[in-house]
Amino acid sequence: MIAISTALNGILLGGLYALYGLGLSLTFGIMRTVNLAHGDVIVLATYLSLLTTQILGFTPLMSLVVLVPVMFCIGYGLQRLVLNRTLKDGMMPAVIITFGLSFVIQNGLLLGFSADRQVLRQGAVETMGVTLAPGLTLGLFPILTLGVLLVLIFALQAFMGRTLLGRAFRATSDDPNTAELMGIDGRKIYGLAMGLAFAIIAVTGVIMGIRSNFSPFDGPARLIFAFEVIIIGGMGSIYGVLAGGLILGLAQTIGGAISPTYFQLAGHLATLGILAVRPSGLFPETIEKG
């Protein structure tokens, strides 16, 4: 029973990790660059939600009504006003800029909210459990998290596969120069992709804040989890994110069951192991160029 419980909890934890990875996978898939402030942006969204609940009296989940559009605009603005300026110089400027941004967000949050750990209060749903069998109770909110993840993945997949804009995203990812010949403005697509990623991050941040407490310096660990999800699942693949999240969650939970100190380490080792045997991940989708 303990083994089953560990496995199920690992899968549920993986749902959260897959959410971390989803936004990063989207931007990598289209722009081929990693936002090193990804984890800090998740934490920023959590704090913005906290602010909304304090000012407007919303519950954290209600705050998404405000948060999703606001985060979309921040992401779109970041890409169009800052990151697009460096496109022609390769990946290094974007990496360094987002690395700098990571420090700006962390210390900005520290100055604005102090280093105290905080928590988003959604109410009873946080602690409710679902008892599957005697001695086997799973948290309701982690199950909901997995549900949100699945909805987001299917929605994203439908958007990419069925809409003109989604096809333009994929065309730009394949070959931005030829996409330009189809009338697709790559800079705008990049802006929209980052906006979309930030909108997903808004959802992620709120869920993270309800599930656990948080502090301004939690971002880097979130970035690493998101990155590991992508390495395990395969770069630029939406379904790979699901697999990557679940495997990372399982690895950590199993490691943690052996000894609490192995929790994160087991996840890192699983990632490095995948990197050693299958460098393009389990479900590679991105077509490698040049």
Binding site: R170, D174, L181, M182, G183, I184, D185
Partner: protein, 234 residues
């Protein structure tokens, strides 16, 4: 007024001057063939017209307006479509998605997905295949169809017979009259002189980045064209 009026444009890649003062015109609805040896500047010329490469000098008038310096993504909206050299299908998109992406500029006109399938019936059974699973000829058909989906007034075709078997090339060239019939102006780069002359109204021969010879396809002196092609008249 000519639909396309290229006035004395020059362009360079780094230190290499690819175009040296080229001028040409194309009337609405006509087919203009551009011939020339490798490195004569044919592809560069097309890239300059469609906005993929900025011209360093000169004017490009499209429907009477200077479009030099405008990005390719805007020129498609105005009605200039490009069939790039090497086909360049989007590898992760299906044939159908490749065609649909061609309609991104949302220009109205006769060309729709169904019309393209009518033009190239071979593609129907390939609709759900990814671009790279196709034969070279099929890929070329998708590339042409994709460009048509934007309902262009001017379509630029860069070496559409490159690397294809003669029978496939014939098949592809049979689609040209249907394209012209829709009123579309065709600017096509072709290595094969006979083919270029047989499908075009006018022909322009480039040599080392300039226009060496131009004329009406039916009337042009074939030997003079061959000399111009190889630079033998110099």
């Amino acid at each position: 007024m000519a639909l396309l009026d290229v006035e004395n444009i020059s362009a360079r890649y780094g230190l290499f001057q690819a175009l040296r003062g080229i001028s040409l015109t194309a009337e609405e609805g006509e087919t203009l063939a551009i011939v020339g040896a490798n490195g004569a500047g044919k592809t560069t010329l097309l890239r300059a017209i469609c906005g993929a490469l900025p011209a360093s000098e000169g004017r490009i008038l499209f429907d009477g307006e200077d479009i030099a310096g405008q990005p390719a993504s805007q020129l498609v909206q105005r009605g200039i479509a490009m069939v790039p050299e090497g086909r360049r299908l989007f590898p992760s998109l299906t044939v159908e998605d490749n065609l649909i992406i061609g309609s991104y500029p949302k220009r109205k006109g006769v060309w729709t997905k169904d019309k393209v399938y009518e033009l190239f019936p071979e593609l129907v059974k390939r609709r759900m295949n990814r671009g790279l699973d196709l034969s070279g000829g099929e890929q070329q058909m998708v590339a042409i169809g994709r460009a048509l989906m934007s309902n262009p007034r001017l379509i630029l075709m860069d070496e559409i017979s490159l690397g294809l078997a003669p029978i496939v090339v014939n098949q592809i060239y049979r689609s040209l009259p249907d394209i012209s019939a829709a009123g579309t102006t065709v600017l096509l780069v072709e290595q094969d002189l006979n083919r270029a002359l047989s499908v075009s109204d006018h022909v322009t021969c480039l040599l080392e980045g300039h226009v060496e010879l131009a004329g009406v396809s039916r009337e042009i002196d074939r030997q003079a064209l061959i000399d111009a092609y190889f630079g033998a008249s110099q």
